[in-house]
Symmetry: D2
Subunit: 252 residues, 4 copies
Amino acid sequence: MVVRILGFNGSPRKYGNTFKLLSVALKAAERFEAETEIIHLYDYMLKPCIGCLSDIQEACRYPCVLDDDMKFLYDKILMADGFIMATPVYWYSPSSQMKIFIDRLTVFENMATMGEQCPLEGKVAGIIACGNDSGTIQVIANLYSILNSMGINIPPWALAYYHEKGDVLAKRSSILDAVNIGRNIVLTCKGEKPEKWYLDWKHIPFIYDLVNEVKIEVEENRIMQWKSRETAISKLIGNIEMEASKSLRDKQ
Amino acid sequence: MVVRILGFNGSPRKYGNTFKLLSVALKAAERFEAETEIIHLYDYMLKPCIGCLSDIQEACRYPCVLDDDMKFLYDKILMADGFIMATPVYWYSPSSQMKIFIDRLTVFENMATMGEQCPLEGKVAGIIACGNDSGTIQVIANLYSILNSMGINIPPWALAYYHEKGDVLAKRSSILDAVNIGRNIVLTCKGEKPEKWYLDWKHIPFIYDLVNEVKIEVEENRIMQWKSRETAISKLIGNIEMEASKSLRDKQ
Amino acid sequence: MVVRILGFNGSPRKYGNTFKLLSVALKAAERFEAETEIIHLYDYMLKPCIGCLSDIQEACRYPCVLDDDMKFLYDKILMADGFIMATPVYWYSPSSQMKIFIDRLTVFENMATMGEQCPLEGKVAGIIACGNDSGTIQVIANLYSILNSMGINIPPWALAYYHEKGDVLAKRSSILDAVNIGRNIVLTCKGEKPEKWYLDWKHIPFIYDLVNEVKIEVEENRIMQWKSRETAISKLIGNIEMEASKSLRDKQ
Amino acid sequence: MVVRILGFNGSPRKYGNTFKLLSVALKAAERFEAETEIIHLYDYMLKPCIGCLSDIQEACRYPCVLDDDMKFLYDKILMADGFIMATPVYWYSPSSQMKIFIDRLTVFENMATMGEQCPLEGKVAGIIACGNDSGTIQVIANLYSILNSMGINIPPWALAYYHEKGDVLAKRSSILDAVNIGRNIVLTCKGEKPEKWYLDWKHIPFIYDLVNEVKIEVEENRIMQWKSRETAISKLIGNIEMEASKSLRDKQ
């Protein structure tokens, strides 16, 4: 049996801490023979849920009345055995793009409410949250409650987070947590029960190689993505900044 | 002094429970001499935050590098003394559109982090959350922590919620809570301290009139909005539904 | 293999909604051949955690420096394969007695932090929360994050809740959720993967019998416990009430 | 008008980070002419709420049917204009002793539910949470929702937290946040609206003196409390530890 694991990156940055931990987890899953794929949610055009459910409950079901890239993502999810939700912490909750994605999964869950089988039930998931401020565990707790309400299985030690300013790849405990997410999702998909569910650094022979692979991937992504981001981000720096401040003063 | 209160409706439905409670609160504020305005967030094109902050902290400031309708909303907020955030509960958290709106307010808060004054500090806010399942107080708690982290003042009894299936205008306690939000925001903006911060039904002479006004407004909105929503929502009902189910079976 | 499931009742009332749903879940587990036992946490003398961890990390480990009834509960937990945490919602969070119990489980989790194996890892758990106001899903989300941080497995559909005033045994969806918790914990302990993880009413032949058994148990408990509770509870009713109000007025 | 501010310390340690930030906030309040007092909740015998409310709603009112030290604390609260809830983060939520304290405040809030005036309404509060792991903002959000549901006013910037391992008095931003809590509670109690609600380091002339005073207080507390804590905490260190491990192995 080949286990297929999807990683959903809810960060707009393909080289930040959220991506790094997600990549660690997916590469660990591969070491345990899973096939993995990363989906950068910001690469897709996703529209906010319009709440059909509250008008006509039957209208909310796969494949959704909205016409956008979720069609593609729904089919990816249906074919996966497990997945990892990785999100930066924006205001003590998931990023907006991740939130749109979650809301749109209602098409599956609502089928259970209407007495059919939810196509997500029995799938296995883990959660990653990164920020440089408080809120990581709140995001994770929120996602647990959502995923389990959709019938998803949460294996032991299925969480990793980081709430400091700096590089998560310098923090051993977060790397370890991410490796264990990857491993535990695969083992649970396979129905295996290991003697130990949490592996320590010294019992993971491939860990240095894995971290190095992630570092290379991160640098490749940074080079690819930075040019376009820099153009967008730097728009307000420079003399534009002064005008903004001035106009702000005038408006108050 | 004229107090200006904005109500942000995070629901796609202009005739649902979220709108109803928001309208109650705003009309109550008007009884205490505020000028009010309702903003339906789903009427605006808002893009998810792209996290410039994590690359260059200085890049995140009013008026934001993204080019969309937030420009208009930022200026509305700057001119208001208080506001009410009203959201439906989607997966135990605010709607995606409300989440986008919140994330985009970071341009103000980040100015405080950089040592400038946050233009929101001292403004006064209340919160409304409606759903037909659990999650209302979690949404409200999350919004408190966000708003107060931006320097916003939360007056006594600044919350109203409803977590049942049915019409919130049939629930006295929720209506009362909404009226008190409207009143307490205005009083706090004016710097008044009343003898009682929570008014009961019998001490609100205008309450029946107010609820009737809201009912009329709700019906007008329903008629206006329903045609276009019906077209969207009913797309999956009928024979399309059967095909969807079939294609779902094939994909699993 | 005999599966042993413990149910922890965090309510002071042995005849309330929290107990009812817990009893439903445990009796369902028995139908799937588990041995079950209910532990009423309010029957035990449990002291709040004193935070040794923050002074000397090594000091926090099984069996804890505090001398009280947790010794007995620790050993119960070690012998169980799975458990159900059932709590009333007090201020949007678990009851104080449940909170004390949770904090005291740190002796197990801290062993993992120190590089040993957490004795709880791989055990399987579900969560029940009841209140007559908002907060149920927040409590459940909080408990997921705690349990999974201790290495505990959360099987599909491991949650049940009720947030209305009334009798939860009149609410089919909550009863069903509780039955499925019991079933899914047992199946997961056994390593079985059913075709359907969420059983509907019509696929549970024993459900009417089960609910009737719970009703009888509830009435027995009410008769046993009410006498002593009534004495305590009614202390303030009557003329004492008026004095309390008077003294309150004087103190303000 | 003399403003009276109470600080509730929910930590068992009178020399830890929670105490430190609380002391900073209270000393800041004194600089703005408040009278302050610190209450160490662990010094009081407080019993968990027994949920009378669910049996007979009228039974839950000041001064509570339970006979313990809350009687004393209730009266303290009634005489205060504002207070600060300071708690360590135990499992992503307040300490058990703080949770008991909160649950027992229901006697005031329930009076509002029954149509009387809640004696807490209009009082002003701030929140402090410290831990060496995630969870601070979740605790704060939870407390906001509780306090505001009791009619309490949350002034601008009423939160401070710290989620690192180390000494919070080495972290400028947390100290600043705590100072601003103290100041903003007092100003709000007095009905003043300052030009700036968040003061920066350079605009607080007394800040070095204040931090030094706190350091001295912390050392005095440590000397006073450590002897008794050491005895309790070290019980499991040494040969007892080995026996514990052995007995644990035997039981699994």
